[in-house]
Amino acid sequence: MAVNVVEDWLNACSGCEISILNIGDPLVDLLPQLNFVHITALVDHKFYGQLGEGKAMEVPEAVVGIVSGGVRNEEQKHELQEIRKRTKFLISLGSCACYGGVPAQANMWKNEDVFEKAFRQSPSTDPSPNPEHPNVPKWTPTCAAVDEVVKVDINIPGCPPHPDWIAEAVTGLLQGKTSWSLPERSVCDTCPVIREKKSGGGPVKRWLQNMEFNPEEGLEKMRCINEQGFLCMGTVTLAGCAGKSGVPRCIQARTPCRGCFGPIRKGAQPLVEMMNSLTSVGLDPKSILDRRALMNRYTGGHGNLKVLPARPAK
């Protein structure tokens, strides 16, 4: 018997939905167990009736609700609240839903500054008032994570979340396991590189040069990226990007971790912990330009990124 599921993207890029498809061949067996009563990406169910006659948004009842994306406007907020009301279990899918994600970097500016830039300060745009219409939802005060608006039962972080975890959490739910989380391990705990707990010291290097490595050799022969002197967010980032097996994905590309699975523990402070971690290998973390945004790249919701008071002129 298939389980009814509502899925939708809020302030999202659709990468989470593509990651669902990246479950690959097992998807063929999983799909028939899920009855998608709503999924914007794949099925033509409409919130205003199939003939467009409705006057208000109607979200169908379902056992499972899955939302990707954070909350950026009033309609997304309303839809999320409706989904919560009509579903038994709610899954936050991906780092935008869990933490605000990359778009929550907008929280470093006042909303009016973001609109000013797009609609009046863009060199290609004929300067215009902000769009304003009943069918163009107003922005919420901040770009928020889903659990800032409603109660969430399962968080599946990642940008995108690995298909292994999506499949595991969803099939677990189908079997009655109503909670799921990743073990509290860091990316470094799953990273095979060589660590000696020290670096060459000095300022943290800009990522303007490649890591040192022999391409014919595996990662187990490459020196840790932090210890090579670069900023890698692995020490303060939750492990899991490579799924149940495999090495951390960005490291596989011989590039630094950018922190997409978010903090290892709820309430952790990646910025403070990352600064400490760099110090512990002898690097000067204050040499990093733009560290506030780089170290909260995916975690700007929950008040982590906000408008700072203007600095006095030099």
């Binding site: 003939l51 490649n210 391409p215």
Partner: protein, 448 residues
């Protein structure tokens, strides 16, 4: 009393939009609007970020085409720092782009568009989807799921990520392709090429012939086109010059950094999405009978502006297509046909690049120094031309960002196509689910 039909959300597309169709007292279409409902503000919040972080920040604009944003950003960053990546780095960027686009085109054709054609535009919505295809044609559906995923696996195994990549960097790429990598990819690339050939044949034999009438009635408009061509006029996804074609087929070519002379963006109060228009053709006018300034991007636009395709199988298909539909071909549903011609080109390109002896060179990045500058990069994303324009300060921190991205180019055209389709099918207040789905089919052609 006038009535408003709300199609919300528009489905089997990427992103949030709704269509409002207003009927007059006689039940005929008085007005239509496609409201794009989301706005995220990348142009503002990228300010202050180091240029080298941009390629792996702006990829998050789109989870379906992250490689396109990743690469266009790398190209803009190359220009900001005035570096030229080594030939092998460019080839590796092209290789990753081509693999990603194979998956993307399979996704669009089979998962998003095919339900309208294989299950049928009037079928109940509960079966008019990929799950319905799984039941109606399980063998093909399984193959499709497998092939789309195969491309993603190739990207992940080598570049770590299929979605939101980190591989391309200012001055080059992060790692070389080893001979072992190449050997493991080659048979898979061949498999994707065979599947691409199958898809073209399958569509020409089983899908397109049934919809010859629909092609002439859904989304029909006559506007201009934008795309990228090489110096020899062949379609190129990664680099070249921009070509802007008028509805009559005449065109002008221009370099990326001249885009402000050719393209303006208009804002309507009823959509967050802007309306790019061809500046030199006059003030934007969305009147269905006589639109002004409207051009389209994405596959149909590209195969219209290109003199030829870059690979032999795709070229043979283009010749057959042009013999049937001319140049420029204006019928909107032909986007699906054009998409499969492009699928062949990208699949052929993957095999070609993997057989290039230079692809395994380890010379993959030039030295880069942060400096002040401006860089305009362009690539062809699956959904149309991407324009990323960055300025940075002496520390190489971003001071200004201007973006015009794929589907935005099609905003005006999508609105026109929706208007045309609604007027064609909704008369005297009579309409049904199949008719409303045809309105969405007009939108889906653009793969927004």
């Amino acid at each position: 009393m006038s009535q408003v039909i709300n199609i919300q959300p528009v489905t089997r597309i990427e992103g949030h939009s709704r269509v409002a169709i207003t009927l007059d007292d006689a039940g005929n279409v008085a007005d239509t609007k496609v409201h794009v409902q989301t706005f995220r503000g990348f142009e503002k919040f990228c300010e202050g970020r180091p240029v080298e972080e941009m390629p792996r920040t702006v990829c998050h604009i789109c989870g379906i085409c992250p490689w396109a944003h990743h690469l266009v950003s790398s190209k803009a960053a190359d220009r900001c720092f005035e570096v030229t990546p080594p030939p092998t780095a460019v080839k590796l960027r092209r290789l990753m782009q081509s693999i990603a686009y194979v998956s993307d085109k399979i996704l669009n054709f089979y998962f998003l568009a095919a339900p309208d054609f294989v299950i049928g535009p009037d079928a109940d919505y509960s079966v008019r989807n990929v799950v319905g295809i799984l039941q109606a044609a399980p063998d093909i559906a399984k193959k499709v799921v497998h092939m789309r995923h195969l491309g993603a696996q190739m990207l992940e195994r080598f570049a770590g990520r299929a979605i939101h990549p980190t591989f391309s960097v200012p001055g080059g790429v992060s790692k070389p392709l080893t001979e072992q990598d190449r050997q493991s990819m080659l048979p898979e690339a061949q498999e994707l090429l065979e599947f691409s050939k199958f898809s073209m044949k399958f569509a020409k034999e089983n899908v397109f012939p049934k919809y010859l009438d629909a092609i002439k009635s859904i989304g029909v408009i006559k506007v201009g086109y934008l795309g990228t061509v090489r110096d020899d006029g062949a379609l190129d996804f990664y680099d070249g010059k921009l070509r802007l074609m008028k509805p009559d087929g005449s065109y002008e070519d221009f370099a990326y950094d001249q885009y402000l002379d050719y393209i303006g963006e208009w804002v309507e109060p009823w959509s967050y999405q802007k309306f790019p228009y061809a500046k030199k053709w006059g003030k934007l006018n969305l009147a269905l009978e006589n639109p002004v300034g409207v051009y389209r991007a994405n596959c149909l636009a590209r195969i219209n502006v290109a003199d030829k395709m870059a690979t032999p199988l795709a070229q043979a298909e283009l010749e057959e297509f042009r013999a049937a539909f001319g140049r420029p071909a204006h019928l909107t549903l032909l986007y699906h046909y054009a998409r499969l011609i492009e699928l062949l080109q990208v699949a052929e390109t993957v095999v070609e690049l993997l057989n290039d002896p230079e692809i395994t060179s380890t010379n993959i990045r030039v030295p880069v120094t942060a400096k002040a500058g401006r860089g305009v990069g362009c690539v062809e994303a699956p959904r149309g031309t991407l324009i990323h324009d960055y300025e940075c300060d002496n520390d190489g921190l971003i001071t200004k960002v201007n973006l015009i991205v794929g589907t935005t180019h099609n905003n005006a055209a999508i609105n026109l196509s929706v208007n045309q389709t609604a007027k064609e099918f909704i008369k005297g207040g009579k309409y049904d689910q199949g008719i409303l789905n045809r309105v969405e089919m007009a939108i889906r052609s653009y793969d927004p």
